[in-house]
């Protein structure tokens, strides 16, 4: 077997795609890249309104510690009510005329 010592593997070539200083919004279809100011303790997604508390693993590596509960809970409850309401409207009515 010939081993090419210099050739980079797929994993190594993907290293260039790493980003520091940013977190991604946790809302699945949003996933906006958010860049909080260094040391900030929370960040709000401008796209979907979700808010998060932050922890800094290193000065260049923030992570989402958790949601700002009151804000995201309100968004969740409103969304649930809207989706369930839409589902109820869509469902065929039972019984005859």
């Amino acid at each position: 077997m010939t081993i090419d010592r210099e050739k980079l593997s797929a994993a190594e070539t993907l290293r260039a795609t790493r980003t520091f200083g940013k977190v991604r919004c946790h809302n699945p279809s949003c996933m906006e890249r958010l860049q909080p100011p260094a040391g900030a303790d929370h960040v709000k997604c401008p796209t979907c309104g979700m808010e998060y508390r932050l922890f800094w693993v290193r000065p260049d590596l923030p992570r989402i510690r958790g949601p700002v509960w009151d804000v995201n809970r309100r968004i969740a409850e409103e969304t649930f009510a809207r989706k369930e309401g839409a589902k109820a409207k869509k469902a065929p009515k039972k019984g005859g005329k």
Binding site: I3, L14, T17, S29
Partner: protein
């Protein structure tokens, strides 16, 4: 060299011990670790054997790279027929045991029979003895290890042991090493207990010759740099795996109250940063430690800050303990998590299974299916921390009707409890799920439904699916080493291309389990971590064994098929809720109520799920019933199994 490590056959009924080399052609087909164990299990057990009888075999092994210069080759694998599921039993742990076993001359142990009285096995520099363990019986996992070290007069002896849970034949008892390293799924400690085997102790000073030492060290440096520079591993090395639970809870991907909810709200007190703040010995970067040969250091050390166990030292907690003693029973108290974690480590029991089964019992209690008569007066409601910890004790020691009943695992317990209790049991193939909620993530749902050892994330979970990676990045990973031109989607709520991702991940995880490398050193939580292309170099430089990425992929496929053959032989049926590739009805019928807006309302679509299974089977070379096709057996060289080569 690594390839001359032997296999030992130990019969506890007769006391006979035989050692043999592992032929190179067997190595090339199965490499080692979990893959070779799957071959041995299929060959050394008969259909329908009693998991707790002498005919079941207990396999303990290291991977082919264990104890070499390769990074993080610390994993010990344990396999047997599972007393929890009646199917494949398989569990994997970190620590230092497998390297010590390799330095003592062995990569694989095949333990059969049953000792008349408690014993332990002592392995040292090619020698194996069976010794009396009467003085060890009843001891906790750490007491057992220190007693053995004292008895043998060597503090460097490494042990794989069971605690009281294994002795009491709790069907989800662990095999453990060190403080908290647990081969903790499918009840391997119960099998060990059924054989009256309290421990396997190893100490070795037999050198492992490295085939190309300079190349091995140079390449390992490059490999380590790739691993330690990843963001995910920097975070792991600071907060440990609890950071995953915290992040997942943030968007609504964890289970709460036995899967009634997909988020544990206001759980600030059990976030990893909070644990770091309150533990006497902090969990932060200066108190992190690691397994043999690992630079990630994802294991926290702590002392319990208050409560009845204040001052006790332990390690972790992991993601699973946050789920088991925090989110799932809705006990948002850091001291409860740290205490629960300590108890399961000492008793030697699967934190994931016990947290799930107690939460199931809590829901049954709130529904009135279980009454205070069944609980001997214990108020088993969600959020009752004291009741949660009391139940850990009762299950491990089989105290009271409920403790004894739950100790047999969910399916047997549901038969005893009756009514419609089974409907609320969140399991696949008889094993409870990780404390994650997969209703918004079809790939992850497919993973747990089809995992070979029952509902599990460490068999085929494409966790990077959650990162919204661009399609070109996904294609770079998932079209290698085998070409894949089908669809791939960046959307983790999509069904598109997910069967291939799960199939790829299944082979990736099997490959590292055969090599003996930790999963945090491959594409699991990080897209830029090593995979198939990187392993041939590590393998060649360390062992001299030449294999291409495609050949390693084929080994992984072969070993996964071997596990499938075992499960099919023991009764796996595609849509069987107790023994099949099927999910609890809640995945399909009850929508997510909490978390991020796009998670709200999500369920798994039954038709789409069926299509995913069909496609997954096609990739694996299975027919529509999930049975291995003859042409697949031929392609993978498995037509003559069981072949009894070893």
């Amino acid at each position: 060299m690594a390839l001359n490590r032997k296999i030992a056959y130990i019969d506890l009924s007769t006391g006979e011990i035989e050692t043999r080399p592992i032929p190179l052609d067997v190595r090339k087909k199965f490499l080692g670790g979990r893959g070779l164990d799957a071959y041995l299990l299929y060959n050394h057990t008969k259909k329908g054997c009693d998991p707790l009888g002498p005919d079941n075999v207990l396999l303990i092994s290291g991977g082919i790279l264990t104890a070499t210069c390769a990074s993080a080759t610390a994993r010990t694998h344990v396999m047997a027929k599972s007393p929890l599921t009646g199917l494949l039993g398989s569990a994997n742990m970190g620590g230092f045991f497998a390297p010590e076993l390799a330095w003592a001359g062995f990569h694989h142990l095949v333990i059969k029979g049953k000792a008349e009285k408690p014993v332990y096995i002592w392995i040292h520099n090619g020698e194996i003895e069976i010794r009396d363990a009467a003085n060890l019986w009843g001891k906790t996992t750490t007491e057992t290890q220190w007693t053995i070290r004292e008895e043998l007069g060597d503090e460097d002896v490494k042990c794989a042991v069971i605690g009281p849970a294994g002795e009491n034949l709790v069907r989800f008892a662990n095999v453990m090493t060190g403080i908290k390293n647990a081969a903790g799924r499918t009840g391997m400690g119960c099998v060990m207990g059924s054989k009256n085997l309290k421990a396997v102790a190893a100490r070795g000073t037999m050198d492992i010759e490295i085939a190309h030492p300079v190349d091995a060290l140079e390449y390992n440096k490059r490999f380590i740099d790739q691993i330690t520079s990843a963001k995910v591993n920097k975070t792991q090395g600071t907060l440990g795996t609890p950071f995953i639970w915290g992040a997942t809870n943030s968007w609504g991907g964890v289970r709460c109250r036995n899967f009634q909810y997909n988020q544990c709200e206001y759980a600030d007190d059990i976030e990893p940063e909070r644990l770091d703040e309150i533990a006497t010995e902090t969990i932060g970067p200066y108190h992190m430690t690691g397994c043999f040969g690992c630079q990630v250091h994802c294991r926290a050390q702590y002392k319990i800050p208050s409560g009845p166990y204040a001052g006790r030292y332990d390690e972790g907690p992991e993601y699973t303990s946050l789920g088991a003693f925090g989110g799932e029973p809705d006990c948002k108290n850091a001291v409860t998590v740290l205490t629960g974690n300590h108890l399961v480590d000492q008793y030697g029991i699967d934190n994931l299974e016990i947290g799930s089964i107690i939460s199931w019992a809590m829901e049954l209690y709130e529904l009135g299916i279980l009454t205070s008569k069944d609980t001997d007066g214990l108020d088993l409601r969600f959020g009752n921390d004291e009741a949660l910890l009391e139940m850990v004790d009762r299950i491990c020691y089989r105290k009271g009707w409920l403790g004894d009943t739950l100790a047999d695992g969910g399916i047997l317990a549901s038969e005893k409890i009756g009514k419609n209790s089974f409907e609320y049991l969140i399991q696949v193939k008889g094993m409870n799920n990780l404390h994650s909620d997969e209703r918004a993530t079809p790939a992850l749902a497919l993973n747990i439904a089809t995992a070979s050892r029952g509902s599990d994330h460490l068999r085929s979970r494409p966790a990077i699916d959650l990162y919204h990676l661009p399609e070109e990045v996904l294609r770079k990973i998932y079209s290698n080493p085998v070409r894949y031109d089908g669809p791939l989607s960046s959307e983790h709520t999509s069904y598109e291309g997910k069967p291939w991702q799960v199939f790829w991940q299944e082979n990736c995880f099997m490959a590292v389990d055969c090599l003996g490398i930790c999963k945090y050193h491959t594409v699991f939580l990080g897209a830029t971590l090593p995979n198939f292309e990187d392993w041939p170099k590590v393998l060649y430089y360390n062992t001299g064994l030449e294999m291409t990425p495609e050949e390693i992929w084929e080994v992984a496929e072969r070993c996964n098929t071997m596990e499938r053959l075992f499960n099919l032989r023991e009764g796996l049926k595609r849509d069987d809720l107790k023994k099949g590739d099927m999910l609890n009805h809640r995945y399909f019928d009850e929508p997510c109520r909490r978390g991020a807006p796009d998670v709200i309302g999500k369920t798994i679509d039954r038709e789409e799920f069926k299509k995913m299974i069909d496609e997954f089977y096609e990739h694996k070379g299975l027919d529509e019933n999930g049975v291995v096709k003859p042409e697949t057996l031929k392609r993978l060289g498995l037509k003559k199994e069981p072949s009894h080569l070893l």
